[in-house]
């Protein structure tokens, strides 16, 4: 699959982040090209979530630069809000808006943020819900959906902003095992369509099959990265070996 272009959709340069005394990210450098699927793996507490959250400024980094589609993002609300329209985020716990129906969840961003006309927003939302296999649930409230269905709505909600990049933070970790597949299937489909994706996951099968590149993080740093076959079958760093030995 040679779908990559040279256009850098995400570029992280010299990123540092700490919570008080605790250094959570140490000098992270990373770039993701257009259409590339990058999977981040690593032990709990290694800083994977924090990295994703720094990329769309849910956490403020202490130093370093973040570029989205070539544009440097400054720590200003106007910049950040604009950037976030281009960066979709999918959370481990879905974070659907419980007071809104499925359809309302999906049209909320386009209408409020992009000022899209409601009719257009609904047409687009219905297409997206169809794509994630939930067209028939559009008038349900999130409380009535299974975890897998919720996460698929959350993906549709993020896609409704027509982002250039999608960030996924353990999108299947809160799901019952039998529901993981339906969410991964939607993500695979997205990857196939050429979406640029940065995915934190423990689903090694998904990583192997879909990722163009796997990044192993440990102790606040990127320890090793490469194509899935290399990282999984022939890890160079002993910490990667130890981690893979534990989970595979």
């Amino acid at each position: 699959m040679n779908k990559r272009s040279d256009r850098k959709m995400v570029e992280v340069k010299g990123l540092h982040k700490s919570f008080g005394e605790l250094e959570v990210l140490k000098d992270i450098n990373l770039s993701v090209s257009e259409g590339e699927v990058v999977v981040i793996i690593g032990p709990s507490g290694s800083g994977k979530s924090t990295l994703l959250r720094c990329i769309n400024f849910l956490e403020k980094n202490q130093s370093g630069e973040i570029y989205i589609d070539g544009r440097l993002i400054e720590h200003r609300d106007s910049h950040i809000n604009k950037m976030r329209q281009n960066v979709g985020m999918v959370f481990q716990h879905f974070n659907l808006f419980p007071h809104m129906t499925v359809l309302q969840n999906v049209i909320e961003g386009p209408i409020q943020v992009k000022k899209m006309n409601k009719k257009h927003a609904i047409i687009m939302a219905e297409e997206l819900l169809d794509k994630v296999g939930l067209a028939d649930k559009k008038n349900e409230y999130p409380a009535m959906l299974s975890g897998g269905q919720k996460q698929r709505v959350a993906i549709a909600r993020a896609l409704a902003m027509q982002p250039k990049v999608m960030l996924f933070d353990e999108p299947t970790s809160a799901l019952d095992p039998e529901l993981v597949g339906e969410v991964l299937a939607v993500m695979k489909e997205l990857a196939k369509e050429g979406m640029t994706m940065l995915v934190v996951t423990h689903e090694m099968g998904f990583a192997r099959e879909v990722a163009d590149r796997v990044i192993f993080m440990d102790d606040a740093a990127i320890v090793e990265q490469g194509i899935p076959d290399d990282v999984f079958d022939n890890p160079q760093n002993e910490r990667t070996q130890a981690f893979l030995g534990q989970i595979l």
């Binding site: 976030r84 985020m89 959370f91 419980p98 007071h99 809104m100 409230y141 409380a143």
Partner: protein, 219 residues
């Protein structure tokens, strides 16, 4: 028999104007309190000291002093500067009083909304204000309804303190009729029945609203 309970039935209707007065004070101080409470709640969750400290000071003072004292300060204390009639004095004092409690109710409700809701809203590109208005507040208001209903019932009962500055509401009415006829018990019972009716209806309405708004939570 020392008591003549037939009076309760016969004289029940003549309390209607006093009950209306009670309802007016209560309604006005609730509206006042809700508006003030919402503003102060934002002060309490604000990270700007300019908003946080005055809001906190206001809540501390109001909750730490008796409501009757607050009423006297507005009616008698302020009379050096501005002479207010009893009714507006009661509304200002009780509205300010309720505002402090309602602010804490709103603050608690806003804080109780999962942080993930704000993050999801912001990650769509919404501003802080949009996220608050569209995502956080609707959920928080719903959660605030039971404690608000409770506060409204307290406000109804507290309105009886306005009798102390001669607002002709239910309690004053029963005191006046009682002392002119020496039938205190009968008239106090009438007032009591009115209060019970008001608080029960209020409780029922709040409960119904709560149930209607719970649709989205039903599994």
């Amino acid at each position: 028999m020392v008591y003549d309970f037939s009076i309760i039935i016969e004289e029940f209707p003549i309390f209607v104007p006093a009950a209306v007065q009670t309802l007016k004070i209560t309604a006005a101080s609730i509206v006042f309190g809700v508006v003030l409470g919402l503003v102060v709640a934002f002060g309490r969750i604000s990270k700007f000291r300019l908003f946080y400290y005055p809001a906190t000071l206001y809540i501390t003072v109001i909750r730490g002093t008796p409501i009757l004292l607050q009423l006297f300060i507005v009616y008698f204390g302020l009379s050096e500067i501005v002479m207010l009639d009893p009714f507006p004095s009661a509304v200002i004092a009780f509205g300010t009083h309720n505002g402090a409690y309602i602010a804490e109710i709103f603050r608690g409700a806003i804080k109780s909304i999962d942080i993930g809701q704000m993050e999801a809203a912001r990650s769509l590109g919404m501003s802080q204000f949009q996220a608050m208005r569209r995502i956080i507040l609707p959920q928080a208001l719903k959660r605030a309804i039971p404690p608000l209903g409770n506060q409204f019932i307290i406000a109804t009962k507290d309105s009886s303190l306005a009798s102390a500055i001669s607002v002709r509401e239910l309690l004053l009415k029963s005191q006046q009729l009682g002392s002119s006829t020496y039938r205190f018990m009968e008239y106090f019972i009438i007032a009591g029945i009115y209060y019970l009716i008001i608080t029960t209806v209020l409780g029922f309405l709040v409960h119904r609203l709560e149930r209607r708004l719970a649709v989205s939570d039903r599994l």
